[in-house]
Every structure is written in C-alpha cells, then in structure tokens.
Symmetry: C2
Subunit: 658 residues, 2 copies
Amino acid sequence: MKKDALDAIALSVRSLSMDAVQAANSGHPGLPMGLAELGSALYGEVMSHYPGDPNWPDRDRFVLSAGHGSMLLYSLLHLSGYKVSLDDLKNFRQVGSITPGHPEYGETEGVETTTGPLGQGISNAVGMALAESKLEHVFNTDTHKVVDHYTYVIAGDGDMMEGISSEACSLAGHLGLGKLIVFYDDNHISIEGDTALAFTEDVEKRFEAFGWQTMSGDAYDTENLFKMIEEAKKDATRPTLIRLRSVIGKGSPNKAGTAAVHGAALGEDEVALSKRELGLDENEHFYIHPKAVEYFENRKKELERQYKEWKSTFEEWAKANPELKKLWDRYFDSSIAEARKELSLPAFEKGEKIATRKASGAILQELAKAIPNLIGGSADLAPSNNSTLEDWGNFSAEERLGRTLHFGVREHAMGAITSGIYLHGGFRPYAATFMVFTDYMRGSMRLAALMGLPVVYVMTHDSIYVGEDGPTHEPVEHYAALRAIPNMRFIRPGDAEETAEAWMMALEHEEGPTVLSLTRQKLAVYEKADPNWRENFRRGGYVVKATDGRPDVVVVTTGSEVSLALEAAEKSKRTVQVVSISDRELFEAQDESFRERVIPSGVRTVVAEVGVLQGWEGYVQSKEDLFGLNRFGASGKGAEVAAHLGYTAEGLTKVIDR
Amino acid sequence: MKKDALDAIALSVRSLSMDAVQAANSGHPGLPMGLAELGSALYGEVMSHYPGDPNWPDRDRFVLSAGHGSMLLYSLLHLSGYKVSLDDLKNFRQVGSITPGHPEYGETEGVETTTGPLGQGISNAVGMALAESKLEHVFNTDTHKVVDHYTYVIAGDGDMMEGISSEACSLAGHLGLGKLIVFYDDNHISIEGDTALAFTEDVEKRFEAFGWQTMSGDAYDTENLFKMIEEAKKDATRPTLIRLRSVIGKGSPNKAGTAAVHGAALGEDEVALSKRELGLDENEHFYIHPKAVEYFENRKKELERQYKEWKSTFEEWAKANPELKKLWDRYFDSSIAEARKELSLPAFEKGEKIATRKASGAILQELAKAIPNLIGGSADLAPSNNSTLEDWGNFSAEERLGRTLHFGVREHAMGAITSGIYLHGGFRPYAATFMVFTDYMRGSMRLAALMGLPVVYVMTHDSIYVGEDGPTHEPVEHYAALRAIPNMRFIRPGDAEETAEAWMMALEHEEGPTVLSLTRQKLAVYEKADPNWRENFRRGGYVVKATDGRPDVVVVTTGSEVSLALEAAEKSKRTVQVVSISDRELFEAQDESFRERVIPSGVRTVVAEVGVLQGWEGYVQSKEDLFGLNRFGASGKGAEVAAHLGYTAEGLTKVIDR
C-alpha cells in the first residue's frame, strides 16, 4: 500500500470523524483521529475481508474494543464499501441510524461485536481467535485450508486497565492463540487526565508475562507498522500485542494530546482550525479524498478476488471431503434441528434423587454426541458444575480438537470469550460456574443479551442449599437480578426430567442467552400430573400436582421449591395445586387461557422460591403469601441453613394454611 | 522465633485443620496444611497485633484472600489467643458457629474482611494499605508515629487469575503502597486439576510490570521466609509479592499435591494416615502441641507490651497535639453527628434546572468541608460523575494527603478497595462510575452489603436519558438488580434538593452501603406539596403534588420520573397525586399510617420508573398501570431516545387517563 493512498484514507477518516461527531455534537473524535493511519492500514491492506459478503466465514475479524471510537470503524466501513452510506455517517448517534454511539452487533454490517463497556471487545476477540484455531483443526486438510484468518483488535488504556482483559489475555497466552493481534492505543490520555494519574504499569511486560509476543512503535511510522504486523503473523504460537504510541485527536491544533478531545465534539472553531491544519477546506463537510475512493475501488476488486479464490478452494475441499462438508454445515447452522433427530436424552426414574447439576452433566454428555459443535467449560469449577464433556478431551495449546474449555478462575472473561466464540460462528458454546459468581460476569452476560447471542450459562449451586460454603457462595438475589436483564432467559428446573427440557429450551432458543439455574442438592424426580408437562414446561410452566376439583391454594414454584411445595402440600390441610414455572417471562408471554389452566384466577396463590421474590408480587393477593428469602444465607449443612432461616416444608405449610 | 516453636504451631494448625474439616465433612484442608508454616510465622512472630484488643487501630492487618482456607485463620486465631475456642473449631461450618465456611467480617474477632469470592480479599487489602498510608501522613509527627503498620495477604492461584486482583494490584503498584505484602500460595493446583490447565503466566513478572517488588522461595524454608519478609519491609515505596512454592495438603501422604485435597475432607482413613505421617496419635483429635501453647502464652505478653507501648505513645502524641487528637476522634467515629453541626448544604432555587449528578457534585464539596475523613473518587469518570473533591488534591504516590482517589478504569477493584478503606477504619469512602457499570463491580458491592459497610456508590447516568452513548451505557434493569441485593440501599432522588437529602441518608446510614442513582440530564427543582418533605423523603417517600380532596390516581415515581409525572399530571384530565419514593424498601418498612398518607389505599395507583419494574407489581391493580421499560435503550439524543421508546409525559398521561 502506497503512502499517498494511506494518507488520503487517514485524512478522510479524520475529516469524517470530526464532522460526524460535530454534527451530533456528541461522541469521541480522539481515537479515530489518533489512529486514522492504523485503521487505514488495516482496512486498506492488512485485512482479508469482503464488503460484498460481510459474513464470509474465513474473513479476518476486526474488533474495536475501544468502542467509543466508533467513527473510526464507521468511516472505514463506509470507505471500504460496506453498507454504511455517507448519510449514515451524517446521522451518527441519532435514533434509528445504523451508526449508534458505540458499535452494535446486528445493527451495522461489518460490526463483529458490540463494544463500549471496556475490556469486553478484546475478550470477545480471544473467543473469536479460539474459535478460529479450533475450526482450523477440525476442517483444514493437508491440501485445503478453508479456515485461516486473523483476529485484529484495537484496545485503549481503559481496555488495558479492566480486569476482564487481564483474564482473557492471560488465557489467550496460555492457549497460544497466535492469530490474535492486538493494537494497544497508548495515547497517555484517560477521561480524568493523563493516564499517569492511575496507570503507570508496564503493559508490554505484563503481556510478556502472559506469554504474548510484544512490540512497540510510533503510530504514525506506517512503514514500521506494516513490518510489525508481518512480524506478528510470523509467530503462530503466541498472540501479539503491538503498542502504538499515539496522539489522541491528532490533527486538532489545540486539543490533540489532551483529555478534551477524548469524549466531546471539537467545537465548530476547532474543527475549522483542524481542517486548516490538515490542509482541508474548512467549509467542506464530510470530505473524502478522491485518492481514498479510487484506492478502495481497486482494493474491493482485489478482495473480491481473494474471496472468490477462497470460494473455489472451499468447493474443491467440499467435493474432496463430503463428510467434512456435512460437518461444516452442522457447525455453521446454529439451529439444533439436525441434532434433535439423533438425540436421545437420558431417562430418569421417578423417585430417583439426583441434583439437577448432576442431571445436567448426564444430559450434556448426550448433547455432546448429537451436537458436534457444542463446546464449553467452567471457570475452574467443572467437577462441581458437572460441565465437562467427558469423552471429548480438553481444548489446549497442544490439542485444538478438545471440546472442554478450561477458563481458569476467570468468570468475566469466560462470559466474553463464550460470546466471542458464538460471534465468530461455528459453535454453540456454554459457560459454567456457581450462580453467585454471575455477579462477576454480569458485564459480559448483559452484552450477550443485548446482542441476542444464544449462549448457555450453566449456573449451579443456586441457593442457600449450598450450605457449608456460607453466604458468600449462596445466591439469594440472583434470580431477580438475572431475570431483570432484558432478553435474558432464566430457567429453573425442579428435577432431572425438567432439567433435560430446560437444556432443550436453551439450545432451541436462538434469540438470546439462557441461564440454567441448577441445584447442588439432590432432588427427587417427581410424578407430573400434567400429561403434556414437557410441552407446557417449555411454554413457561405446568401443573405438577393437581387436585380433584378446584384447589384451595395454588403454590407457584420453581426449581428446588417444587419438591418443597409437594411436601408442604402433603402436610397442608387445604387442597393444593403445585405449579412449576420454568421461565416466568415466557409464562407471562403466553395467552390467558394457557396461564389460566396453570394458575386459575380467583384461587389464592402462594409463591415459593428460595430467594428475593422481586417480580412475583403480582401473583399474590397478599405479601404474606410470598414465601421467599430477604436476607443473606448462612454457613452450615444445607438443610440446617434452611431450617435456621425458616425455609422448610413446615414453614411453607404454615403460609398455605394461614 | 525458634524453629521448634514454629514447627509445633504448624503441626497444630495441620492437626486442627484436618480434624475440623473432617468433623464437618466439608471444607478445604489443602491450604491450611500447605501454608501452616507461613501462618505460624505470621501469627507467631511477624505480625504486630494484640488479641486482647482486636480493634487496635495500629495493628497489622491480615487478609486471607483465599478465604476457603479459613481453617488456617481460625486455627491461628485460636492458638494466638483470640476469642475462638476449641469448641468453635469443632463447630466449623455449622449453623450459628463463629467459624463459618469462609471468614466473615463481624462474625469472628480477628477476621478483618469477608473473603471467599476470589480476588476480593487482596483488593480489600489494597484499600487497607491505602488507608494506612493516608493516616500515617495525616497523623504522624516528627516525634510520634501513631500509625505504622503492615497489611499482609495470603492469595492463591484463583486470586491471581481473577481480573479484580490485576486491577487492584496495578493500582497498588502505581500508588507505591510499600506496606502491602502479599504471599502468593503457588501450589500448582486448582479445582479442575493442575493449574497448567489454564494458568501458565509468569505471575512474578506481571507484578513487576505493576511496579511491585517480587521474590520467591520455598514455603517450607522458614529461615528464608523471615528474610524475605524483612526484605519486603525495607522497600517502603513498592508493595511486595512473595511467591511461595508450596504443596497443597502437605502432610497427607496420598492426597498432598493433588486437587483432591483442595476442597473436600481427607476422609477418616487419610486423616489417620496423615497423623501417622506427621508423628501424631491417630486417635487424638484436635491435637495442639504443648510447645505451641507455651509459645503463644509468651507471645501474647510480648504483644501486650507492644500494644501498651503504642498506647503510651498515643497518649503522649495526643497530649502534644490536641488538635490532631480531635481530628483523630472525628476520623475514627464513623458517625457524621459532629459534622452535621458544621454542615451547610447548598441551596437550590425552585425551577432551577440541574442534573442530579451535578447537584451531587456541589453537595459533595460541602460535605468534604464538614467531614474531614470523607474520601473517594471515580473509575476514570470523575468529570462526568462530578465526584472530585475539588479543593482537596489528589491522593497519589507523592501526595498522601490528597482526598480525591483516581481508581483508573477499574470498577471492580474500586468497589473492593473502597470497602477495604472502610474496613481499615478511619474513613468514610465513596466510589463513583456510570450506573451501568455496577455490573462490573457487583461482586464487591454484594460483599459490602453482606459485611454491612456504609460505603456510598455515586452512580450517575442512571437511565436511557444517557442518550447518545446508546444501550451499552444505558441502565434499564439496574434499579431492580441493585434493589434485589439484601442490605443494599438504593436511593433515586428526583431533583437537586432531594439529592442533598439522599446524600445525608447515605452518610447517616451506618449499617450498609447505599447506591445514589443520579441523572445525566437536567431536571427542574420542583415545589413540594408536603411541608415535611425532607423528613418524609428520608423515611422512604412523600407527596410531591397533592390534590384537593381524594385524587383519582396516585402516580408513584422515583428520580427523573418525578418531573415526568408532574408534567403528565398537568396534561391529565384526572386529579393526580404525585409521590416521590426515595428508597422503596425503606418506604415499605414504615408503618401503615405513614404509607397510607403517601399512597392512600383504594385509589388507583400508577408506577412510573424508566426501567424494568420488577418489584413494583404489588403497587398496582393492573399491569397496565406499570409505566416502565422492558427492553434495552438506544443511541440518540436523550429526549429522542425516550420518545422513540414511548417514554414521554404523553405516554404516561395515557396510562393515567386510560
């Protein structure tokens, strides 16, 4: 790539970014102006992608982890030929535009993930690189490489400060994800001022400690930049960090290099001065250098050639390897419709006592056989979460075919990496830990919900019945907190049979993530009064125990409290109907007749769930009919903790009989 | 300390830990057995503390960040003379005991913080060391040192993997907290197996990158251990990491060095074999070596001498520096009763338009004058959070007297450090960021609630009115998610005047943390119908707008929706009473007559809050009267986003008038 073309593109990026932010009078001109050259190099030459098919499976992935610099990405998507028009740029940060304040997955072609909350993008990218390395080993043959691409990331100081990136990058180094290349925008400026206020660590050294290859250079020495990228690619066994010393807001004569240019429009005057400084006409807005246009016209042809070359390689490969091609189609179809045909889930005996986490483990083994692209693991709690895919080996630096992931004690990164694996394409990933540690990974879970990614969170040890580990390990508020997240499914099965249905609900739900809430303690598999219980459970809930005629009381429960309610119903002097709700939100979305069959109106309702009952208030006529828990747990044997807190069948019976 | 005494203590720790875990048939023998020598060295010689006064302000602090190894701590507290009896050890992990599964602050004398969720303790310790360094500079004189102690931490592999510890330790290095000494228990074992499964980074090198002094040695070479600790203390400008190569479960012939000994009792047989290996009588339980008893009897006298010496120094100092002594009393009285006398909060004009975050900033300046030990800061959003103490300088490596903390983009560590500052004693700390990033710091917020620490979280940009930054930065589910945490206060003031009351509520509440939910957007200061509104706001809520006679509709609102409701009330054809709820839980805790005066029963109620309305269901007769938001936000101008989502005064009026 010739320097004049690169300069023309960089100039255009600066011009577009300044003007778009100014037009919105909101946004972050600092990063796009500071890294215009890097962006131009990536989209102009380094990256193998094809604007004509943004979903090309073998494209290089680009993640703007410093998502506030979105105008860098939008400018480059526009210039390089994606469906981002000049009008879209002019509508930056406006309602309904495809150029929102931070890049949003699904809103804009060419945006690989939603970024903004710092540290998430770079951690997603670790998942993407992991997915790539795995697909390489599953599908490439000696004669055909159908998977062979890089994941590029731009990360800022904030990304580097967030703990999640340390977690993810430590794991990336451990796993030797050599095709991950991160550019660290070392501009010395954070919102509160110079990064020296709070951040003086040696970032390169830290990444070396993580096992990365590291380099550094001037962000504007483009010749050296290309060399460093070549160097980065040569090392196939280590991810690379390229630290670029840059000037935030470069091009603005009065604000460059200051916190003032980070997160606010330059102001009309400074935009004019900047344009003058850059040799632009200050009266022209959204200027694009003709050489940039010309360059990308040619570049697009070259990229089309690369794309078509891949296509023909892929066709040859498919012809030569029909079984692999079939497998490819399974991998790249996120639906599990095919799998259902082969799937035989384990059967459980009525009365059998088995923790739902354990049932989940057994189910998972069967799912793994039928769903070849199901991969996942735990944040170092696999034996407790029952989340290991037992017959399929560990994924590691040495063995890319293994399907069990070992995330280490890194819940937050686990969440983001799992999302990244899904975003890359090719997999149905899951992540497991104790439910209480969803608190550590909420940042990444929220983004999965926002993006609508069908990842599965296997959250075991879901209540005070955890017992001896005590209140630090006992979820109480987590049902409420997780249900509150829009587009997050929360399913709490009551026994092993329901757990199987819950897994199917999670895998068949393609519009967003699902939390499976599973017990540590054993629960008996119970008789179900409803002959269509499986179907109805999947619709949100069903009648576990019916009464002859109209019941006195309906006890609405979830998870382990179904058993508790069945016991209480036996003890009660009233006639009691017991209902198991799988997913409250889904239940509420059903039509009235369905809901009425499960919870008949006009009958007194009691809700029993061993946690904060926020959101159940509408189900009862009196607060006294809410049998929940409004305090932290305690350490002791599970049953004794429950007794200590009054959370027993007797306690529930009293509420029913009051 | 002689080796035979140390060995006798270590032997006793192993014996007590094995037996206690076996008796509970639950717990973690691996760490106490692996680090028995280190624990013995710390409690036997290194640490300056005094079991006779566990709250001695100048004691060394000890944090068992790897909280699962609680029997190490309990054994040593027992041996060294704290109020932990042999019976307490025998009741390990039982309901009602003072020896819960993980150490809990407030339950057991000598436990400095609640640990268990990994990474929290080490991050609390950074806060403690920060507090110590600050107090040194505030109170010590050339002739008297009344503050001069160390913070010691035991951290495991899990602590090292968690991102929060990277955040906290990077900041500790930056701030040069030289009196922080962390022992890293490098035992190569995690729950899923060898740490090599997921964790192969060079930890020492990472800490060097953070600016720490690092050393390493064998956990059982105690002579060298003492030397390293001396070495660590010599460097006053850098925190120290001492990596100790250890054997998990040392003493167990068949399980030492394996994951099997991490988190489960050894089993009767292996306990017996271990005792034999250690030269103990396998039939004797909870054995304590007589030399250990004898040693600690003498040690206690020596510690008493140190304690009394400090007391007399303190008295001399107090006599020589009466003003400083007065200040000391203010610092170490967490109540703000004294401050109230001097405090004059800013007044706001009715009709004045001011964002509550901005009002909060103005209030904070006045609070800072009256409350000398109020310190805090933001995770790099201070200009947006209005959280800087403007006249009081920055706390830094060079300037310990500064009161504004710069946490960097490290929300999770900020939470834990803030708790650590409070736990140390001497301060009333606060922490600020955008509300959406409470997702990043929930782990530490939950522990603050569990411990009952009165820290204040200043959470600005509290809704979709954030606007242009888009859904990644717009809280929607956060009111529900934060209210769900037991013992967490959540206050959402509606204008500048209410913001002042909210701050006072937060500071006067000494039993737990408070979240202040503050707006980005401007809000007019409104007239309040209730003449006692200040008092009633502090009790949970009051009538902002009353009607002549009984209203048709009561609109129950919080925060920015009070203004919306006032506007809607004007537009409505009905007579409307508008209520501002400060803290829903507090309101619900009031007696019926209070609640009835605010929300009269029998009148139709509408709830308006611009988020997920989980938990408000009990206030309305019909779900259609819940005017909330059940989806993520969007990017655009705040008002346009609201309009796009139908969240307008017109929308609310329709609900009122339906």
